[in-house]
Symmetry: C2
Subunit: 364 residues, 2 copies
C-alpha cells in the first residue's frame, strides 16, 4: 500500500506542500472584529464594486484569489488548478469569479467545510505530482447567504441565540511543491529585492496531510442551530484522524474547527469526550475567533465558507509563521442544508475534513 | 517537473487506474431510448421509492453508487473516497445520497460536466497514491431539474427546439490501482467462481489521464440553448488536450462530448475547425446517443449530470470492453447556470473536462 495512505480515512504527504501565498478579503463587520489586523482587504460597503450581492461575492472571491497569487510572487497562468466553492446554488459566486481568472477550474462543495475540501484537494494535486502549484479559495457573503437560506434582509428577522452570522469574506491559499517555492522566492526577489515576503527567514508552513470526512447525520433539523448539525461530523473526523495517525489532541498546538460557534463547540468537546479524547485545552473555532460577541451581537459566532477561509489565511497562518504554534489541525465544518431540503423537513447532515498545517524552519 | 504534468492543462497517469465497477441507473424515458440494453436499472416510475423528486434523485444516486461497488466485487467500506455531484442547489441529491454510504465524501460541482470532474479527481487520487480505490458518481433528474431551473411541470411549458431534455439517471464508476484490481478479481472469484465479471479475458479499461478545463464565457444568455453556452468550453479543452499530448483527433476512436446536443455539437465542430482540428469523423455526443429524437421528441437531445454519466457507465465502456474502440476522449460539458444568475440576466459560462479512456488487453 502507498505510504501516502494512512489508517481508515487519512492521507499523508511524502513530498512537502508549501503555502506560497495567502489572502483574506472581508466586509465591514469582519473588519470591525478582533481579527481586523490580519485581513488584506476590508470593504466597508460589502459590495466590492458589484451590482448585487452575488456579484459582490464573485468579485470578493476573485480579489482574494488574485491577491494570494500576487503575494506568492506568481501570475495566474502559473497556477495549474483552482479549487473553489461557495454556499450559493450551483456555486454561483465561484463560477462567475473563476471565469475572470485564466486557471483550470474545479468547483467543490461541502457547505462551510468547503475550504477543507478545496485545500486538501489542491494539496493532493501537488503532493501527487499533478501540479507544481494550485490554489484553494472559498467565499461567503452575509447578504447573499441570508437571501439564499433564510429571510430577506429587509424583514429585520429576529435570530435565535444558537444562530451564527454568515461571514462576508473570501480566503485564498496558493500551495506548491519545492520547485514552485523556489520560483516564488526568485520572482519575489526580482520584484522586491532579496529577503522580502514570508520566506525571509527560511520559515515556511506546509500542508502535511489530512483526513477526509464522511457525511454524518444525527437527525438535527434546526437550521438556526447549525453548530449542533455539524459537531457530530467534526468529532467523527477528528477522532478518526487521531486514531489514523496514532496521535492525541496534545500533538497539536490547536485543533481549530470551522464554524461550530458557541453551541456547536461545546457539543464537539462533549462528543470528543465520548470518543475518548479531551480536546478543550487545544480547542478553538474560527466562528468564535472572528467576531467579538459582546460588542458585535453575533450570537453563537461566525459561519460560512468564508469564515474558516479568512481565519486561516489571516490569523492562523500568522501564528504558524510567527512561531507561536508549530502544528495545528484545521477542521472546516459544513452543514449540508439546502433551502429545499430544509423546507421539506429533512434533517441537516454535517461533513468536516481535517488538515494538518506545520511550521518548518530553516527551509533553505 | 513531474512526468504526470503534461503541457498547459493536462495530466497523465504513470500508474494504471483501472475501471473496477460501473453502474447506470435511469428512469422511464431513458429506458425507452436506444441505449436501454446498456442500463443496469430502469425505474418506470422515475421515483426509485422516494417521496419527492429530490428524494428520488438521492435514492437513484445511492442505488448507482452501491451497484457499481457490488459489481466490482467490493464493499462500500473498501472505497476510500466518493466524489459526487448533481445539478441541485447545495448538491442536495448527492449530499443526502452519500449520507447513506459509509464512504468519505467530497462534493463536486461543474454542472453537467460534473462526471468529468469527479472521475478525473477520483482517478488522480488513485494515480497519486492517496487511495487504492475510489468512486465517482453523478446524477440528474428531469423533474427535479425542471423545478430547479425552469418551470413547474404542471404548466406544460413549451420547449424551444434548441432545448435539451434533462436525463433522469445516475452513473457510477469505481476506479482503483493494480492492488485493488487484484482484490476485486479475487473477491469476485470467491462469490461467483473463476472468470466471472468483465475481467474474464484479461481485458480492462484504464483512465490514462486528462485535461482540466477553464471557465469559458462567450456571452450566450439563452438558458434554452445550453449547447451554445457549453460548446466554446468543450472546444477549448479538447484543443488544449490535443496540443498538450501532441495528438490529433484521429488518435481517438471517438471524441465524445457530454451533452452539447444537436445545436451545440455543430458549434463545437465549427469551433474545433477554427482551432485547426477536424473532429467530425470521430465526434459524438452523449446527449445525441441517449434518446431517439424522432420517436422521443427530445428536441436538441439529452443533458444533465446523469446524461454523460450513464452513457459512459453503460454504452461507452461496453464498446471499449468489447474492443470496438481502443481509446476514447470523454468530454463532459457543463453550463454554469443558476436560477439566480439567469434571472439577473447574466451570461451562461461553460466548463468542460477531457478524460482519456483506453482498452488494455492481456492484463494478467
Amino acid at each position: 500500500m502507498s505510504e501516502k495512505i494512512v489508517g481508515a480515512q487519512s492521507v499523508c504527504f511524502t513530498e512537502d506542500v508549501y503555502v506560497l501565498g495567502r489572502a483574506a478579503v472581508v466586509g465591514k463587520k469582519e473588519g470591525e472584529g478582533p481579527l481586523r489586523s490580519f485581513f488584506d482587504v476590508i470593504d466597508d460597503t460589502d459590495m466590492f464594486g458589484g451590482e448585487n450581492w452575488n456579484d459582490a461575492e464573485s468579485r470578493m472571491m476573485q480579489l482574494a484569489a488574485a491577491r494570494a497569487i500576487k503575494k506568492a510572487g506568481l501570475t495566474p497562468k502559473q497556477i495549474r488548478m483552482l479549487f473553489a466553492g461557495d454556499l450559493l446554488g450551483q456555486l454561483l459566486a465561484s463560477s462567475f469569479g473563476a471565469g475572470e481568472l485564466p486557471i483550470p477550474f474545479l468547483g467543490v462543495y461541502g457547505a462551510c467545510s468547503t475550504m477543507g475540501e478545496s485545500l486538501l484537494l489542491a494539496s493532493m494535486m501537488v503532493a501527487g505530482g499533478f501540479a507544481d502549484c494550485t490554489e484553494a479559495v472559498t467565499s461567503s457573503h452575509f447578504a447573499s447567504a441570508e437571501k439564499e437560506f433564510r429571510f430577506p434582509l429587509g424583514y429585520g428577522n429576529q435570530r435565535p441565540l444558537a444562530a451564527t452570522w454568515t461571514v462576508t469574506g473570501s480566503g485564498a491559499l496558493v500551495v506548491g511543491n519545492r520547485t514552485a517555492l523556489e520560483r516564488c522566492r526568485a520572482q519575489r526577489e526580482e520584484k522586491t529585492g532579496p529577503h522580502a515576503g514570508s520566506a525571509k527567514s527560511g520559515v515556511e508552513v506546509v500542508i502535511a496531510g489530512g483526513t477526509v470526512g464522511r457525511v454524518t447525520d444525527f437527525g438535527v433539523k434546526d437550521k438556526a442551530n447549525m453548530g449542533a448539525c455539524m459537531a457530530p461530523a467534526a468529532s467523527k473526523v477528528v477522532a478518526t484522524h487521531l486514531r489514523d495517525f496514532h496521535r492525541t489532541p496534545e500533538d497539536y498546538d490547536k485543533i481549530i474547527t470551522g464554524d461550530l460557534g458557541a453551541v456547536g463547540a461545546k457539543i464537539f468537546a462533549d462528543l470528543m469526550g465520548q470518543e475518548g479524547y479531551r480536546v478543550e485545552p487545544v480547542q478553538d473555532d474560527c466562528g468564535l475567533l472572528i467576531y467579538d460577541n459582546e460588542l458585535q451581537d453575533t450570537h453563537s459566532g461566525g459561519s460560512g465558507c468564508g469564515c474558516s477561509a479568512v481565519t486561516l489565511a489571516g490569523y492562523l497562518l500568522d501564528k504558524l509563521y510567527e512561531g507561536e504554534w508549530k502544528r495545528i489541525l484545521f477542521v472546516p465544518t459544513g452543514a449540508l442544508l439546502s433551502p429545499v431540503s430544509a423546507n421539506e423537513g429533512s434533517s441537516i447532515p454535517g461533513v468536516a475534513h481535517a488538515i494538518i498545517l506545520e511550521r518548518r524552519e530553516g527551509v533553505a
